[in-house]
Symmetry: C2
Subunit: 512 residues, 2 copies
C-alpha cells in the first residue's frame, strides 16, 4: 500500500508553542468502493414516482414573480393567486437530463480546484453558525475576528477543501455589506473555493464579480470555468422563496454553480417517515434544478440532501442519528439516479466537543462517504446542531476527515509488498521492527494522525493527561500563530478593495 | 420505516437516581447491504496464494507434541527438531472446506442464542483487560468485584450479545482456579454466551462441563447444540503454542466452537504492509482451522482477524486507524472467500473516554460492520489498546452499538408511509408536528438514544453542562443499582457450585 503523506508545517516565527503538526496533502479523496445502498431499486422508483406526483399534483409555492414567469415559460401550470406551481413529470425529467453529472470549480489558485461529481469527496467547513466557541474564551456571538480566524484555519488544514457560506456569522458587521467584507477576507486569506451568500441576486453577483477580479478575468469568462457556487435551500415543505430563487437564477445565468438543498427534517418539515422525507426532498430538489436548467441548459447544479430527524419529544433537530446516516446514503442513490452530483453533510447536535459530538459526526460522515457524497458540508467545526462554530471541533473533525481520506485510498500492492523473504527470515514469535523490508517502508507505511495520542498510560499521565479536545486547543492556537497568507497578487487585492469600497458606497446603509 | 424499540427499564427499587434508560431489544442486527470490499478479486487471489506459500514453504512452529502428531497424520511435513510444520495447499483447502459457514451458539437461556455466520453481527464486550477504570474511583488493577459488575452490565445492556473471555482480569483470584470462579459468575449473573479461557485443555473442558450443567445436559450433548466457544491466537509470526492448540483441539473434539485469531500488528508481528499482514493472518488462521477440521470434520470455527498497525515511532499498538478499518473489511472478504464466519474487533488506543476513543472505535466499528463481521470483539468498554476495561466507555460504546444496529435495520415502507395526503394538507412553509400521519407514527418513528443530549445550549448549561462521558457515569451506576439476576434454576446453581468446589479441591494451589 503506497501512500503519500508529508508537508512539514510552515516555518515558525516568534515565541509560539510549536506543535508542528504533519498533515496529508490537499487531495480530495475518491471513494473507489461501491457505495452503500440502503434503498432497493423498487424503493427508488417509488420515491421517484411519489416526488413527481408531489410536483405535478400538489405543487410548490414560488414567491418570486420572475421564477413563476420562468416556470410558466417551461410549461408549468401557475396559479398566481396561491403562487403554486405544478409541473408535468415529462418537463421535470427533460430539464433534469440537461444538467452535467460532473463539473470543476476553479478558485484563483487553481491548485485548489475541485471536481464536483463522480466518486470524489470534497469536505467543507461549517457554515452559517451564529455563535462561536473555543475552550479559552468560551461561547460568544459570531464576529469578524473569529470569522477571519476560521478562514485562516480552513486555509491551513489541507483536509478542508472548501468553505461553506459564512462559516460563522460576523454579527458585528452591517448586514447589507457583510458579504463584501467576508468575500474579501475569503479571497485574500484563502485560495480555496467558498460558497456565496444566497440571499437575493445582488449578493451572488457581487461574489461572482469579486471572483472574476481575483482570477483576473471578465465575469462573463467564468461561464467557461466556474468559480462561484451558492447553496439554496427550499423552505420545506414546498416553499421556494424569492431570495433563494433569484440568487440561484442569477448564478445559473452566469453559468455558475448552485446547490439545491431542501431543508427536510423528518417530523417537522416533512412527514415522520424516511420514505416521505426522501420523496419530498426529491420533489423540492428536482423542482428547483429543473428551473435552473431552463434558465441555462447545462448550468452546473448539485442535488442536495439534508434529511435528518427531530427529537419527537422536544422538536429539537438531531444529527448523526441512524436515520440521518441512512438518509445520507439514500440521497446519494437518488442523486445518481438522475446523474447529478450530490451534496450531503456531517453534522452533530452535541453541546460540547465530547463523545456524542464525535459519534454523531462519524455516523453522518460514514453515511456521507459510503453514500458517495461529492460535497460534504459542515464537515468541520459544526456544533450544537449548527448554532456554534467550534475551534476545538474543527481540529477534531480535520483529524477525522484526514483519517477518512487515508482509509479511502485504494489498496495497491505488488509482489514485493508481501515481504515473503522477511517472513521467511523472521523467527517464529519474533518481530519485524528491524527487517530490511520494514526499514525500507516504515516512514510512509501508515497514516500519521496529528491529534491521536498513543502514549502508554503512565507517559500520558506524566504529560498532563490531556484529552483530544484539550490537545486540539494547542493545535489551533499554533496554526493561527504560524498561518501564512496565500499570496493573492497585490494588484488584485487592491482591485478587490476598490470594488468593495465602491459597492459599500452604492449600498449605503440600506438593506439590499 | 418500521422499527421496534421499547422495553422499559426494570422495576426500580430503593433510593437510586432514576435514569430509566430505554433500550432497543436484544436483536443482533443483520447487515442487508452489500459489504464494503477494498480488495479486488486479483488481490484476494494474491493473498490466498502467498498465504499458502507461507504454510507450505516456510511453515509454522507448532510447540505441542499432540498437535504436531495430528499435523503429521493429516499429511503435513513435520520437523521435530525445529517443530516447524509445513502443509501442502491441497491439504489445507480440503480441510477448510469441511468447516460450516454458519452455526448457532446456545447459552442456558436460548433467548440469547446467537447465529454466527451469514450477515449477522454480534457485538462482544471487552476481553482480557488487566486494569479497570471508572470516573468515580479511578484506575485500578482488575478484580473480582469489578469483573462481576461488568458481567451485570453486559447482561443489562441488550446490545451486548456475548462476553469476550475474561472481560477484565480478576487479579485478586488465584490464577489456577480463576476460570472456575469467573465461569460461575458468568453463568449465574448472565444468560448470554461467553468465551472460555483458552489456556490449555483443562480450562476449556471445565467451561464445557459447567455449560452442560447450566443447560441440564450431558457434556456430550453439546456437540449437537454448541454452547462453548473460545478464542485462540497465533503468537504471530508463525508460532502456535501448546496452550492454545491443546485448548482448541479439546473443544473441537467436543464439537464446540473455536475462533482462530492471529495477532498481526503490522510493523511488529508482520511486515509493515497490509498485503503482507493479510497474507500472514490468512496463513496462520487457515493453518489452525485446518487442524481443527482434521480433529473433527464440521466442528464450528471462526476466521479471526486482528490486523492493525503499530506507531512506528514508538512501537505502540494503534487501533481504529485507517489501516485497521480497511483490514476489518478485507478480513471479511478473506473469510467469505473460504465460506467461514468472521470475527473482527472495534478497538481504541486512547487513554481516556474522549473524542479520540470515539473516532477510533467508530472507524473500527464501521470497518467491522460494513465488512460483515459476525463477531465484533472488544466492541464495548475497551480502552488504552486493551489495557483497561472502562465503565464509561462501556456505556458510550453501547449507545454507539445500538445506533449502529438501528442504522442497519432494512428500510421498509409501503404506500401510506409516503404521507402524500399529509404533504398535500400541510401548507407550504408549515410543519407536520400535528398531522394525523405524524401522530400515528411519532412514538416509534425514530431511533431513541439513551445517551445523547439534544437540549438547547441554555437548557443544557442549566442542567449542569454534562458531557456524554459524565452522563455515562450516571447510567452505569443506575444500571448496577437496578440489575436483576437472570434466574438460572436453583438446582443448577447448586450443581455448578458443587462442581467448582470439587474442581478447586482437585486443583489445589498448583498451576494447571
Amino acid at each position: 500500500m503506497r501512500r503519500g503523506r508529508r508537508q512539514a508545517a510552515a516555518t515558525r516565527q516568534g515565541d509560539v508553542k510549536q506543535i508542528a503538526i504533519q498533515q496529508s496533502p490537499f487531495t480530495p479523496p475518491q471513494n473507489h468502493m461501491a457505495p452503500l445502498q440502503p434503498l432497493s431499486d423498487d424503493q427508488i422508483s417509488a420515491i421517484h414516482e411519489t416526488s413527481l406526483r408531489i410536483i405535478s399534483e400538489i405543487g410548490i409555492e414560488v414567491m418570486s414573480d420572475k421564477a413563476r414567469t420562468l416556470y410558466r415559460d417551461m410549461g408549468g401550470e401557475v396559479d398566481d393567486a396561491s403562487q403554486i406551481v405544478r409541473l408535468d413529470p415529462d418537463i421535470i425529467l427533460e430539464k433534469i437530463a440537461l444538467a452535467p453529472s460532473k463539473f470543476t470549480l476553479t478558485p484563483w489558485d487553481s491548485a485548489h480546484s475541485l471536481t464536483i461529481g463522480g466518486n470524489q469527496l470534497n469536505f467543507g467547513m461549517v457554515s452559517g453558525a451564529p455563535n462561536v466557541h473555543d475552550a479559552i474564551h468560551g461561547r460568544r456571538s459570531g464576529n469578524l475576528a473569529d470569522y477571519t480566524n476560521f478562514i485562516k484555519l480552513g486555509q491551513s488544514f489541507n483536509t478542508i477543501h472548501f468553505f461553506g457560506n459564512q462559516t460563522l456569522a460576523p454579527n458585528d458587521l452591517p448586514v447589507n455589506t457583510r458579504h463584501l467584507t467576508t468575500n474579501l477576507i475569503n479571497l485574500t486569506h484563502s485560495s480555496k473555493i467558498f460558497l456565496s451568500m444566497s440571499i437575493g441576486k445582488t449578493r451572488v453577483l457581487d461574489t461572482a464579480n469579486m471572483l472574476a477580479i481575483a482570477r483576473g478575468l471578465p465575469v462573463e469568462a467564468l461561464a467557461d470555468s466556474p468559480s462561484c457556487i451558492t447553496n439554496i435551500s427550499i423552505n420545506s415543505p414546498r416553499k421556494f422563496d424569492s431570495e433563494m430563487s433569484d440568487a440561484a437564477i442569477a448564478l445559473a445565468e452566469l453559468g455558475q454553480a448552485v446547490v439545491v438543498t431542501p431543508f427536510t427534517l423528518m417530523g417537522a418539515m416533512t412527514p415522520v417517515t424516511l420514505a416521505a422525507a426522501l420523496a419530498q426532498q426529491n420533489a423540492e430538489a428536482l423542482f428547483a434544478i429543473a428551473l435552473l436548467q431552463h434558465v441555462r441548459a447545462g448550468a452546473p447544479v448539485v442535488y442536495g440532501g439534508f434529511t435528518s430527524n427531530v427529537d419527537m419529544k422536544s422538536g429539537a433537530p438531531a444529527f448523526g442519528t441512524p436515520e440521518n446516516s441512512l438518509a445520507n446514503m439514500a440521497g446519494g442513490q437518488l442523486a445518481r439516479h438522475y446523474k447529478l452530483p450530490y451534496r450531503t453533510s456531517a453534522c452533530s447536535a452535541s453541546n460540547t466537543v465530547d463523545a456524542q459530538a464525535v459519534w454523531e459526526t462519524q455516523m453522518a460522515l460514514w453515511g456521507a462517504a459510503t453514500g458517495h457524497g461529492n460535497m460534504i458540508y459542515h464537515a468541520a467545526g459544526w456544533g450544537e446542531g449548527g448554532l456554534v462554530a467550534s475551534y476545538e471541533k474543527l481540529v477534531v473533525d480535520c483529524e477525522m476527515l484526514q483519517a477518512m481520506t487515508a482509509m479511502l485510498q485504494p489498496i495497491q500492492f505488488e509482489a514485493d509488498d508481501f515481504g515473503f523473504e522477511a517472513i521467511k527470515e523472521t523467527l517464529p514469535g519474533g518481530h519485524f521492527f528491524g527487517s530490511d523490508h520494514t526499514l525500507a517502508r516504515y516512514q510512509t507505511a501508515f497514516y500519521s494522525p496529528f491529534l491521536s495520542n498513543w502514549q502508554n498510560h503512565e507517559s500520558w499521565q506524566q504529560a498532563g493527561a490531556k484529552g483530544a479536545t484539550e490537545r486540539a486547543t494547542d493545535i489551533w492556537q499554533d496554526m493561527l500563530a504560524t498561518y501564512e497568507m496565500p499570496g493573492l497578487a497585490q494588484d488584485r487585492v487592491e482591485a478587490l478593495e476598490a470594488y468593495v469600497a465602491k459597492r459599500c458606497e452604492e449600498i449605503g446603509s440600506s438593506d439590499i
